[in-house]
Each structure stands twice: as structure tokens, then as C-alpha cells.
Amino acid sequence: MSALGSATPGGIARELEAPVAGRRRGIRWRGLGLPIYTALALLFLLIPIAYTFVFSFNDSGKLNIAWQGFTLDKWLHVCDAQGVCEAFGNSILVGVVATVLATALGTAIAIALVRYRFRARGAISLLLFLPMATPEVVLGAGLAAQFLSLGVNKGLVTIIIAHTMFCISFVVVTVKARVASLDPALEEAGRDLYGSATAVFWRITFPLLLPGIAAAALLSFALSFDDFIITNFNSGAVDTFPKFIYIAAARGIPAEANVVASAVFVLAIVLVVVAQVTRAARAARAARQARQLR
């Protein structure tokens, strides 16, 4: 496993170069404690994921508790279990709409916060920090109390409103870092070349901010997709995927829910790992080219 990274020949050589490790040369096992601990901790984190994955292949009836034997049925007929696919569709819809709204609103705030000096800065920072410091149950109950007093019927729209609200702060935090690292000279160059304000934004600022904006959008979607506590207060009769699980938990989760969750998990992990390996490969190629040029 890669967790034992520093136990590879290169890793040990590197450690021996360090004065500290040099002194400990006789007792090699001391350096192994941390890698072994890391491997065990990561294994611990993965136990319930493995459990969920394995039980998506369980040939169970309505209750998916005891192991009954292996089947691919649940994977092939996911939508047979009542409500699973509908709830999943709702979660995707809410996630996409809330992500678009929160990313747009949050990115605008992030740009303004870094670029402009204004008097209410402290108050606005606080307003952005507070939703992250408020427990979800309070955010959920507050919105629900407001919808109740206004007589609003709860449904998809109220879920989207709630999700957009708690995603904005996270978008601001993520994009702000990227805006701060942006070189203002690039935009000045655009303006010097008589680019209009819109042209400068869309052709210079936006492309440079894109990695930060994409990260913020992914974070928003993940937060929205997995949110249960706030959704539960503001969803009325509509089920999202987490709410479906919560309701089903009282009587037993169908294996189809494990299938949906496992499929999402595998997809997300594959995307992330592919992105990381590509980036590493690109960095390695760039380094090689730089060496050849020298």
C-alpha cells in the first residue's frame, strides 16, 4: 500500500540524509510506527465504505442486514426498489441548481472581498463566517420557521434555497484563495489593450479563476448531495437520497440504496484519482522537458 511511502528505498535514503533519522539508524522499527498507524487509520476510515459496497451485492429481501448470498440483481435493477431512483434524481437536481446559484453568488463575493476596500468589510466577513459556525440543525429549524410563518409550502424549491444558503460561504472561502493569488497585472494588460470590462473578465479573470471556481462547485455539490439535517427541516414531502435513507433506516434499508451510494462513490473516486495521476504525469513531463532544455 502506498501509505508505506517512506519505507520505499528512496524514502529510507531520504530519511537517512536527515540528521535525526541518522541518529536512529540502529532502530529502524521506530520509523515504521507512523506509516503503520497511517495505514491502520485509513483502513478504519474505509471499513463502513467497504461494508456498504459488499452489501450492495447481498441477495436480500426488503431488509439488508444479514448476508444472504451474492447477486448482481440489485445493480441491474436499481430502480425496482420503491423511491430510490426518484430520491436520487431529486438529489442530483437540487445539487446542480444549488451549486450553480451558490457558485455564482459566492464567486462574486470572493472577487469583491479581495479586490475592493470598503467599510462594511468586517461585518460581511462575519456574515460569511456565521453560517459555517452555526450548527446545521439551527440553520434548518430557522429556515423552516421562516417558511412556516410565511406560509410557504415546502418542497424542491425550499430545499434548493436552503442548500444554496449554506454553500455560499464555502464557495467564498475556496475562491477567495484563488483570487488572492491572481496577478492584477494580467488584467491591467487586458485593459491597456482596450479590452472592455466584460471582455477582461471573461477572457482573463474567469479562465484564471476557473480551477478555484471548479473546486468550489465540486465542494458545493458534495455538501448539497450529502446534506440531510437541513433538508429534513425544509423538504416537506419531497425525498432526497439522504432523506430516503433516513426514513428507510427505521424499517430497513433496501440493498438498492447501497448500489446507488457505491456507484456514486466509485465514480467520484475514479474521477479524483484520474485527475491526480494526470496532474502528476504532466508535472513529471514538464520537469523532464525543463531538464532537457538545460
Binding site: 524514502g11 440543525v137 467564498v172 440531510f228 429534513n232 473516486i269 491526480q276
Partner: protein, 279 residues
Amino acid sequence: MLLLPGILYLLLFFITPLISLVFTSFQQPVINGDIGQYSAGFQWQNYTDSVMQYLPLILRAFGYALLATVLALVVSYPLAYFIGVKVRGYPLVQSLLLTLVIAPFFISFLLRTLAWKQIMSDEGPLVVGLKALSLFPNDGHITGTPFAVIFGLTYNFIPFMTLPLYAVLERMDVRYIEAGNDLYASPFTTFRTITVPLSMPGIVSGTLLTFIPAAGDYINASGDFLGSAQTSMVGNAIESNFLVTQNYPVAAALSIVLMAVILIIVGFYVRRAGTEDLV
């Protein structure tokens, strides 16, 4: 103006809901009205009544959250240290290990918690195994106990603790640690006087990211998940009063109390870290 739409949105859907929560918390029941019908009032009593009634749940919420935060810090620190400091120089290994840390985010929080419930249930592998080894009393349970709830909270928030710790440790200059060692400080002294102070910003944000949601959580402590009636936290009381018995003023009063206590604790922390750093 770039700020306006987003700020307006937060005022409309974050600040006004908090205000309406305050109003709701003072409401009084409509005489001869239906269940869930309340009118504006100034029932200060709602606060004293609900705090009296739910004091054990409030204390439990903060107690469990505190224990889970400390446990998550103890588990996460070495993990973050290994990824952030020990495998520095291997960016791919670093990012793959980080992916494993955040892997739990990619699968439903509720399903993960249910998986632990089934692993630790009376018929599950853990209890059966421990009983077979006579390490566990025959009539013992794990699910439904405070242990299971604190365990679940710790598990669920480890990634939230590890990420900020990693972010700080990754940027830490290891030459300070080498300097400590060169000056013949024991590894423990070096850790206590150099590593910990340098990683303080990560410790502060990690503990906040764990403590706040853990104190308001009502999933782990729920009877359908890892808890039982004996482990109910204040979040469970808010949920059942709001969504089940439609006792809105009590739910609102408890929410305000929970938020007030948390803000006091956060305010204490933020004085050390500064909001500008956290936002």
C-alpha cells in the same frame, strides 16, 4: 456591485430565519387552537421550561461533542503529520493518501453510520466475536450506548479534523523541528514546544469544524442509528419538537440556546485565530 446579490441572499435566507427563530421561540399556543398553532407573544417561559426539561440533552450534546473532538484530534494528528510532513516530496502519494482521507465524503454519511450500526449490532461481527472470546458480557450491547454515539461522531468528523491539520502541517518548515533535535530536546519536548504551536491554526479550525456540527448532530444519537433514548442530544430534541410534535416554540428556544452557547465558545476561539483567517 458584486457583493449585493450574495449578501442579500444571506440576509434573506440566513439572517431573517434566525430572527424568525427568535420570534418563534417567544410564541404562545393559540387557545383552543389546533396542534402546531401559535401566536406572537413574549413567553420568556419557553426558554426556562425547555432548558429545564432538556438540560440533560444539552449537557450530553456538549459532552459528547467535546469527547468526539478530542478523540478525533488524537486520531487525526499523526495521520495529518504523516501525509503532510513525512511523505513531502512525493506529491502523488500525498494526494492519493488525502483522497483516502476524504473518501468517506463520497458515500452517504447516513449509510456509513448505518454500516457501523450493523457492524456493532448485537448480531453483528463485533459483538458476536467479542462474546465468543468472552471479552464482552453476554447481555452487553454496543449500539444504543454513549460509547457507540461518541464513536460514530468521532468517525464521521475525522476527515474534517484531518484536512485543516494537514493544510498547516504541509506548509510547516521542518527545519524548526531539526533545530529542536539538534539542541538535544527529546522528541516529546520538540513536539510539544515546536510542532504543536506551529500547527495551532490547523488545530483551531479542525476542532471548530468537528465540535460545532457534532454538538448539533442528531443522526448518530438517534435510535435508528447508533443511539437510543438514553443517548438523545439537544439536536434530537429540536428535531422531534419541530418535525414530530410541532412544538415550534420549544424547538426554536432550544436552537437559540444551542447557537448562543456555540457562539460563545467560537468567539473565544476566534479571538485567537481571527475571522479573516477563517473566512
